[in-house]
Assembly symmetry: C2
Homo-oligomer: 457 residues x 2
């Protein structure tokens, strides 16, 4: 019955024993980019009404003011800060993506450890190692069960993110291998998040709750709260109960030498990654068409079936729904050259010119087109046809955002929330992460003036 | 794609529109028994080390002292009180059971609403209606997916309990049908709890977290945090993602006329329900054998296969593991006539006389034996054989505990924690639930002296 070799315990041993000095410069540098992208997104999303509403509900129950709500004035207890920051970082659908699994790993992991770091001071070196380990754990568990797990309907960012958060916080608490194993078990039994929630506020709730639940798992384990020692691989463990595929080699093979955490990518557009080739191609077409954009008769997309499965909403009514409409995204890219958060507001989704063009967009599916590609044909009213093929969207591993593009993305979105001066200060500070004595200072620096002043007092 | 008729929304309409006066006296009376049994268990379990450790972890993050930790001195915010009380009420495996699904429904539901009731005062009439509705929702959703869902490895008490807690708290907050639908959605996307955790502290974590998460779902919905409107029945909703069986008629048919909440049962023994026939039979055999108990050569059990699947541990090492060993349970029943919490301590599990008899117990499975039955053959050293068949264990729907037996169970376990005088006061108060002006008073009355004095001040 227990024929499966141990998975959870060896993983926990690796989590608890890795030293920051074991990390190569390359892995560290990738980790800093992950952190910086996450922080920009968390600030950028901080004023979204999804965050307002979550805060309105939880503030009543929050404990001591231990940690900052990023990009705002409020301070909450560690767990609630992890929840809210996880929501903020994902609410614009602008965060990082582990392309092999479509996991957005930083939300659960970084939201958990930054909140903890404000309460138990952590050096940049230890923080970075914890983040990298947490991202690695989430992505490797994801590899073990993807795509079956995702196809069944699980939002893999939440279900694997809770393990990543538990692993990362276990490191910050200095848990030994046994307690880290328990923390992974307490995470496993909270793994949740349904894809049915896409297009509602609950989608960004998933990484937030994964951050909170993973962090709590580590604190419970620290207090001696025990759990299964085989929570991932047992016959009734995570991988079998939540997936038909269990490739455990993906979890353990090459730990510490082959890094999934270095395969993270950063979106240039604030929506589901499968729409990115379309936006990329439509932005290019807009530049080529010039004034002819006004003469578009029809737009034909040829895409992988997953694109329509995930983002096939033909008549989105809200900004959130717009993120799940390749038709809306094509229209905003062609008419406004925009795939940033401002392309996915309620106003833009309801704008008559956008709706008019959106309704001229058709899509056909073709399994021979890669998920990362698209073929676009624009037909003008005078009969001319312009074609555009995108083989790899900008932001993919083949065309990663440069550091300068990451910086622009950071400032473009965060300046709208905390002002450009503070945004640039925060950006500069984020690059210094590996050498910081106290990472919590970054969270406080992200806050808007009122709280930042209070935090410094 | 959306061919399934609506389930979640009609359920939410029923939840939000039912009036306490719609409940028959019989349904109310059953609800009071459910509450009383739950309260006794929550007090009885309050000093378990599982609770100590959970409290040690969460206290650091708890908000204002809004609600009582039942049977102790601490006060926590509503959400953490719901968590801890849910753990306490299940930790002795002594709580209620909806036999059709093996759901323990009161833990998630009552733990959530009693904590809320201390913060937003609630009358006994409204509280009882909320509890009955919450239990009904959890059990009906359970019926829709049981047994496939449970067989896959889900701890159904946690996965359906979160809906029950969300439904019950939605009523206390006065949410309309739309917001109640959201609350059910926020619950659905947190449905979790693996059977792999049985025998560890995480098992009782499940009803606790379900109480907390369900309550939070309702508060989030109240604040306008939206969710899917079809979280149960959508192609990627709860029932399809977490089960291969989806019998939606079980959720909606006869709502308000046929009551699952009235099919709740109460355990005479502090362990998994499938062992109860064995304990019942062995206690009867003990009475018949007298001094011959010391001459037992072997004990042969013939049971349904599920009994060994759930409780087949042959060499339990801890009290918790003892609850999952039909062999240990047979030994304590034969040697001590005990199936109460004192039969499942670390000490008793390790007692030499218990181990010696435990190792003489053998079990064979027989699908023709009902899950609620057992056939026991005791062979003595002189060759005599004594047989005992139990068709329905005490505590089952065919032999329910009387009110007097429920009272004895309440006092026996709670007096050990809060003393007999307070236990009897609390019992008397619990019977008056339907007429109480402020149900929160019961939670405060359950606390040990130090806090009770403070609460009254």
């Amino acid at each position: 019955m227990n024929a499966t070799p141990a998975v959870t315990r060896p993983l926990a041993e690796w989590i608890s024993s890795l030293k920051p000095s074991d990390l190569s410069d390359e892995v560290r540098a990738a980790g800093v980019r992950t952190f910086l992208n996450w922080l920009g997104c968390a600030v950028g999303g901080a004023r979204h009404e999804t965050v307002d509403r979550a805060l309105a509900a939880v503030t009543l129950f929050s404990g001591p003011e231990q940690a900052s709500v990023i990009g705002r004035t409020e301070r909450l207890d560690v767990m609630h800060a992890a929840l809210i920051n996880g929501i903020s970082s994902h609410v614009l659908d602008y965060d990082d993506t582990h392309l092999k699994t479509i996991i957005h790993p930083a939300g659960p992991v970084a939201s958990a450890i930054l909140a903890v770091a404000e309460h138990r001071p952590v050096s940049g070196e230890d923080f970075l190692a914890a983040q990298i380990v947490g991202v690695e754990v989430a992505c490797r568990i994801g590899n073990a069960v993807y795509p079956d797990h995702y196809d069944r309907g699980w939002h893999i960012t939440g279900t694997t993110g809770v393990f990543g958060a538990a692993a990362a916080v276990s490191r910050l608490l200095g848990l030994d291998a046994e307690r880290t194993t328990w923390a992974l078990g307490i995470a496993a039994t909270q793994a949740s998040g349904l894809r049915e929630m896409f297009g509602t506020m609950c989608k960004s709730f998933h990484p937030g709750r994964a951050a909170q639940n993973g962090a709590m798992a580590a604190y419970l384990a620290e207090a001696g709260f025990d759990s299964s020692l085989r929570s991932i691989e047992a016959p009734r463990g995570f991988a079998t109960v939540l997936s038909t595929k269990q490739d455990y080699a993906e979890i353990l093979d090459g730990l510490g030498t082959r890094w999934e955490a270095s395969l993270n990518s950063y979106k240039p557009y604030a929506c589901g990654i499968v729409i990115h080739p379309t936006i990329d191609g439509c932005c290019q077409l807009r530049d080529e068409l010039g004034a002819d954009v006004a003469r578009i008769e029809s737009v034909a997309l040829r895409t992988h079936p997953l694109v329509l499965e995930l983002t096939g909403k033909t008549r989105p009514q809200t900004g959130l729904e717009g993120k799940f409409s390749v038709f809306h995204a094509a229209a905003t890219a062609l008419l406004r050259g925009d795939g940033s958060p401002t392309a996915f507001t309620d106003e833009v989704v309801r704008a008559p010119d956008i709706i008019a063009l959106r309704d001229k967009v058709r899509a056909e599916t073709d399994r021979s087109v890669h998920e990362d590609a698209v073929h676009i044909t624009v037909t003008l009213t005078d009969g001319r046809r312009i074609e555009k093929s995108v083989a790899h969207a900008i932001g993919s591993l083949d065309r990663p955002l440069t550091d300068a593009e990451l910086e622009k993305k950071f400032v473009d979105q965060s300046a709208l929330v905390i002002g450009e001066a503070r945004s640039r200060d925060l950006l500069a500070a984020a690059w210094t992460l590996p050498g910081l004595a106290d990472v919590g200072s970054l969270a406080r620096l992200s806050q808007t003036e009122a709280a930042a002043g209070r935090g410094a007092a």
